[in-house]
Amino acid sequence: MTQLPQSTAKKLGLVIDLDTCVGCHACVTSCKGWNTENYGVPLSDDDAYGANPIGTFLNRVHSFEVQPEATGGCGSSAQTVHFPKSCLHCDDAPCVTVCPTGASYKRQEDGIVLVDEDACMGCGLCAWACPYGARELDSDSGVMKKCTLCVDRIYNENLPEEDRQPACVRTCPAGARHFGDFADPESNVSKLVEERGGFELMPEQGTKPVNRYLPPRKKDSWDSANNNVLPLNAISQEPKGFLKWLDSALGKV
């Protein structure tokens, strides 16, 4: 079970657009909502209304500040990047192979990495093995929770077709999250990665993540030499003829 498949027929995953994400955390909320009510045990919260609330989340949005080098192409002003992070459904998922009970597995048919909660003993070794922090041990149930890519939505024929995508993708008001099959070069996600130069997180960890991130687009800059936007000229004009007479006459009154 915990042997990784040689290859998967599909490679389902997400493309997250760091240019478009506004950091509203709607994906965090919808993820928590869907996954608390559906697949597996609920995502618990401890001390939810107390001084130290703590809970399980499968998707979290970090915000980073990036400071370009003074001579960099984007000028020298820092930019804020909102950064949603969930399971990347790695091809070489280290979380799967370390699992002693066989609870963790990567599906041959679509590449989704899942946890069979009925087999998990809550040792937490898979969470240690994941460099991205995609797995969290639920303090209430004692089993490992992770993103399922909403496996109970994407194939769910009881849902209208437009809802058959992960809750985070469906809910994103900015359209910053895209769901699709990376094994198909003609898919929306493959094309986005191609066009926008999608990248992997921590490639040096050798996990071969499926999910890709799109970099922020280049910012405009005022101090650039080829800046051809001119300042606006004054458009007020001195009146002529009758209006000039009226203006001066009224001015004397």
């Binding site: 079970m1 915990t2 042997q3 130290n52 609330p53 703590i54 399980t56 989340f57 979290r60 970090h62 915000s63 980073f64 500040e65 990036v66 400071q67 370009p68 080098e69 960099g72 984007c74 820092a78 930019q79 804020t80 992070k85 280290p94 192979t97 370390v98 699992c99 002693p100 009970t101 066989g102 609870a103 087999a119 998990c120 003993m121 809550g122 040792c123 937490g124 070794l125 969470a127 240690w128 994941c130 460099p131 991205y132 922090g133 969290e136 041990l137 303090s139 149930s141 004692g142 990248f199 992997e200 997180l201 921590m202 490639p203 040096e204 960890q205 050798g206 991130y213 970099p215 922020p216």
Partner: protein, 291 residues
């Protein structure tokens, strides 16, 4: 990494017990009847207390029996098999020694080999975690083996091997620290690679996902007490190295000195293992601006 007491007790006591079994298995010392009962009772007590302690950090221990199923890929599963095999073979060997005064030496040798393999499997659980660069190095295996064999030799009353292994364990410990200190940098993981934003510039955390704590931070971004690391390293060297070495040199194998040596070794081993966890940094800390 969070230094969970259950895991520290588990690795230290099981390592010590299995080190003891290693020496007993090769007939150092040779025990029969009552003496065999006492020594093997001690070795089993240490190993079993350690193994039971390991179940205390499980969130869902009712599924623990399933951990024997994935030996093809999982070092934790392999460790489980090896530990059980070691205890079974050792149990049979000891049973024949205690009740029948029969020394089936081949069983003893097998128990020694299995005990060492179990300690190696324990070390591999940590070595395989690439996301914790300090652990992900072969030196960690020698660290686990030398500490286990040194402790076992002290308990087995093997005066000279104990002295040699204590010195060796300290050398390996220092080398492991030295290598470990540079491992995070060698891993190449930075906030820039973690976010993929390095092509734009230098990255720092602007806002954490939540104002509160979470499982990842508690478990993998443990920073408390790291500032005491140097003091604890000194204590480790003192209790695991200097005191046992001096006691072994000055005494000539008398029991009181050996007991004191064993106690000192155990204190040092606990300090060392606490550091092994507390000093280890997980790359996920990069997403939280914590290292």
């Amino acid at each position: 990494m969070h230094p969970a007491p259950s895991v520290i007790i588990f690795t230290v006591l099981t390592g010590l017990g299995f080190g003891f079994i290693t020496w007993l298995g090769i007939g150092m010392p040779e025990v029969m009847g009552k003496s065999a009962f006492i020594t093997y009772f001690g070795a089993f007590a240490l190993s079993v207390i350690g193994l039971i302690s390991s179940t205390f950090h499980l969130g869902n221990p009712k599924n623990a029996y399933k951990s024997f199923s994935q030996w093809r890929t999982s070092w934790l599963s392999r460790e489980g098999w090896l530990a059980v095999a070691t205890l079974l073979v050792t149990g049979l060997f000891a049973f024949l020694l205690i009740f029948f005064d029969k020394n089936l030496q081949i069983l003893g040798y097998i128990s020694s080999v299995l005990a060492v393999l179990t300690v190696i499997a324990t070390s591999m659980i940590y070595i395989q975690i690439k996301a914790v660069p300090r652990w992900s190095h072969r030196s960690v295996m020698f660290y686990f083996i030398t500490v286990s064999l040194a402790g076992g030799a002290i308990l087995a009353g093997q005066h000279k091997p104990a002295l040699v292994l204590t010195i060796l364990a300290v050398i390996v410990q220092i080398v492991t620290w030295k290598i470990g200190d540079g491992r995070f940098k060698e891993s190449g993981s930075t906030m820039e690679t973690a976010t993929g934003l390095g092509s734009i510039g230098k990255v720092r955390l602007f806002e954490s996902p939540h104002t509160g704590d979470n499982y990842l931070l508690k478990e993998m971004a443990y920073v408390v007490g790291r500032r005491h690391a140097n003091k604890l390293r000194a204590l480790t060297l003192l209790f695991m190295g200097v005191i046992p070495a001096v006691l072994l040199l000055l005494s000539n194998g008398n029991t009181v000195a050996l007991v004191l040596t064993a106690i000192s070794h155990l204190i040092g081993a606990f300090a060392s293992r606490w550091l092994f966890f507390a000093e280890a940094e997980h790359v996920v800390g990069l997403y939280y601006g914590k290292r």
